[in-house]
Subunit: 421 residues, 2 copies
């Protein structure tokens, strides 16, 4: 690229919706996407006729592997009554719908379309754990899989490298987990809308009612340190460091800035978009940062003219607790090696100066892979419009929020920055 | 969309390359894409430093299912030395890289990027026929697969409907096959670069040398009518009506129009892009046209200001012989029900007034699914620049060429129109 990045015309978000995230034996991709789409329609203040939607971009990762059905663009366009409008699937593993969002932005910014629906869906929980592990392994670098790495293993290796370089420990990862659960407790759409303290107390009550030995946990950390409550998956990743297997869908409605006020008096403007790619772990010089995240951040900050300190809230891709710490450093919110201290000091809490993952994050809101990217933007939409209910951040003059998605073990990363004016 | 379609800024093609298409037991997706990329580099008249490539879009359909590896964007970006530049996979079944092309156009037209590589790859031939059939079935509508339709079956049903409505017959499909083979005979990159007459004569010679009974075929049609030479697959689709299983890769280099002359004095300009989606067969009122193709054509003609008669040559998606006939009607080159007559009259031959599939088409050039969309544009590039060698069409002042891709049984369709100025 020669010269400073820019977009030919502005793009705004005027609606956002998501299904409940969770494990649903009776809901397939079509059902889930319809749920998200219907909620999105209800959020467009001045209404939208689906006939005015020019195109669909859909993120999905595993449907061809898990349900032996690819080519989901036209399936969803038909479901929503959009046929014969174009429908394109994007795939970047866990960042799939973040890519859909970006393509939607380009399609409008190019001048070709005015109204574009972007979203994602994933239907994972009906498979066996082994199948899901195999399916998700398709997102990693081929070398990682051949070396018998699973995802908890890869992120465990990153955590170990981070501990070694900066002196952090498992105790610091627990701070991420506790915060995420505290936020998700306030999010009715979250798969685990319960705090660690609640889980702990429920276990204690259950033990008491059974008349057996009662665990002696006095606080969340004692609970998380107990291997019976929080067993190791791939050290130092324990059960409560890992996001769950989830089903869900999400979508947002993008329109050209010039017509945004036709849909709402309170649109959000897409001020930053960025994307990067990264090599596999075998080729990385350092496991404690993501080159793709740093590149995506550079693109998005360059377009927006904003700095990391201008971003007031962010959803980041915490597929594992360590990932949240790495990302808040890579995005420039905290210096390398200081992310874990920021979490410890409460800076990223709902009531802190830089709230991170107010939704509960992937860890607690859930991680239906293809739905996660636009799902993060649904949360950003709610917070920036002051519609996040009990988990609304108390920041005065909240205007700028970001969402960051990671695919695989760092192969793809995106950053999106939205602004309320 | 409100108002006439337009793009914020122009986009040009300044390089194009493809691997040989075929069945290669020793070449995987990475090898194939590198082959296409290297040829592309050699076609950029004034040279291109890969470091100047801002982003990659990659079409692929089956790699997650066939080789259990998804997330191919960053794998290919790493292969080509593009990391950390963004890399996005698009999937629209057999139109996957046509979608990559379109997203590359949007990314540049939006103003965000100046130089974008778009391409596609597929590695199919190492699977069993059963696996390939299952993999390709993922491109169809779920209802078609549940009804036990295979792809030859679906297109067989379309052919039957067409015969019934317009009075065409198998004899007319043979005209398509004979033409495709005649063109492919002149294309060294084609999987089957041999004419039907050559195949027929080889068989006769072989029979003679063995001393057995010698077939009494006097011309290509007699050969194609003979069930021993051309067995039925799903009536009326016979072996020579169907494209093969192929491995291959292709790519083109897109740049902003304003810098096109930095790369070549002879760029091609992207004047039309269009895309549509279609319902499954169960929901179609008529099997003799593709609603997605008609919509894509409408978009592309609207953007370009061109009419069907302005398009001088076209590559169309002849996954089956009947598909070529349906598409040349849907694109407006011939009226509904007249496509088969046009082929019979030789209008679509290399030396006819409207040459179609000068490359040999999917039928003979091969159909490595994800590579087909940009592969068609490689042929368009060669023809419009007068570099198609023995198969160069003899049209005076050849300026406008088109490529049309179909995904699945009509779920996705694209039309791209390129112009030399």
């Amino acid at each position: 690229m020669r010269g400073r990045r820019k977009l030919g015309r502005g793009v705004a978000v005027v609606g956002a919706g998501m299904s409940k995230f969770g494990m649903f034996s009776d809901k397939d991709s079509k059902y889930l996407f319809a749920e998200a789409f219907n909620e999105m329609l209800s959020t467009v203040d001045k209404g939208i006729d689906p006939k005015d939607i020019d195109a669909l971009y859909l993120g999905n990762f595993t449907n061809d592997f898990f349900v032996h059905q690819g080519h989901w663009g036209p399936i969803i366009s038909d479901l929503l009554g959009l046929t014969p409008k174009p429908a394109t699937r994007t795939e970047g593993a866990c960042a799939s719908s973040a890519l859909a969002f970006r393509e939607g932005v380009f399609a409008i910014a190019s001048g070709f379309y005015d109204v574009v629906l972007v979203g994602g869906v994933e239907d994972m929980s009906k498979r066996s754990t082994e199948e899901v592990t195999q399916g998700l392994a398709m997102a990693a670098s081929p070398y990682e899989v051949k070396a018998a790495f699973t995802f908890p293993g890869v992120f465990g290796a990153m955590a170990t490298a981070y501990f070694n370089k900066y002196g952090a420990s498992r105790e610091h990862l627990m701070n991420v987990t506790i915060k995420s659960h505290n936020n998700a407790r306030l999010n009715p759409k979250a798969q685990f809308n319960v705090s660690i303290r609640d889980i702990m107390n429920q276990r204690i009550e259950k033990a008491k009612s059974r008349g057996g030995p009662v665990p002696a946990w006095r606080d969340e950390k004692e609970f998380l340190r107990d291997p019976r409550a929080n067993p190791v998956v791939a050290w130092p990743m324990h059960l409560y460091d890992c996001c769950p297997i989830s089903d869900g869908a999400s979508c947002v409605l993008l329109v050209a800035e010039k017509i945004a006020k036709d849909f709402t008096d309170n649109p959000l403007y897409v001020v930053g978009i960025g994307q990067g790619s990264g090599k596999g772990l075998h080729a990385k010089e350092d496991l404690t940062y993501f080159e793709a995240t740093r590149y995506a951040a550079q693109e998005a900050y360059e377009l927006s003219g904003l700095k990391p300190e201008d971003v007031q809230i962010a959803e980041v891709h915490d597929c594992f607790s360590i990932a949240e710490i790495l990302h808040i450093e890579d995005l420039g919110f905290f210096k390398p090696g200081e992310g874990y201290k920021a979490v410890e000091e409460g800076l990223t809490r709902l009531d802190g100066p830089k709230p991170i993952n107010t939704s509960g994050g992937l860890k607690c809101k859930g991680h239906p892979v293809g739905a996660t990217g636009t799902g993060q933007l649904v949360e950003t939409w709610k917070q920036l419009r002051g519609e996040a209910g009990e988990r609304q951040v108390p920041i005065k003059d909240l205007r700028v929020g970001a969402a960051q998605s990671l695919g695989g073990t760092g192969g793809t990363c995106t950053l999106t920055i939205l602004e309320r004016r």
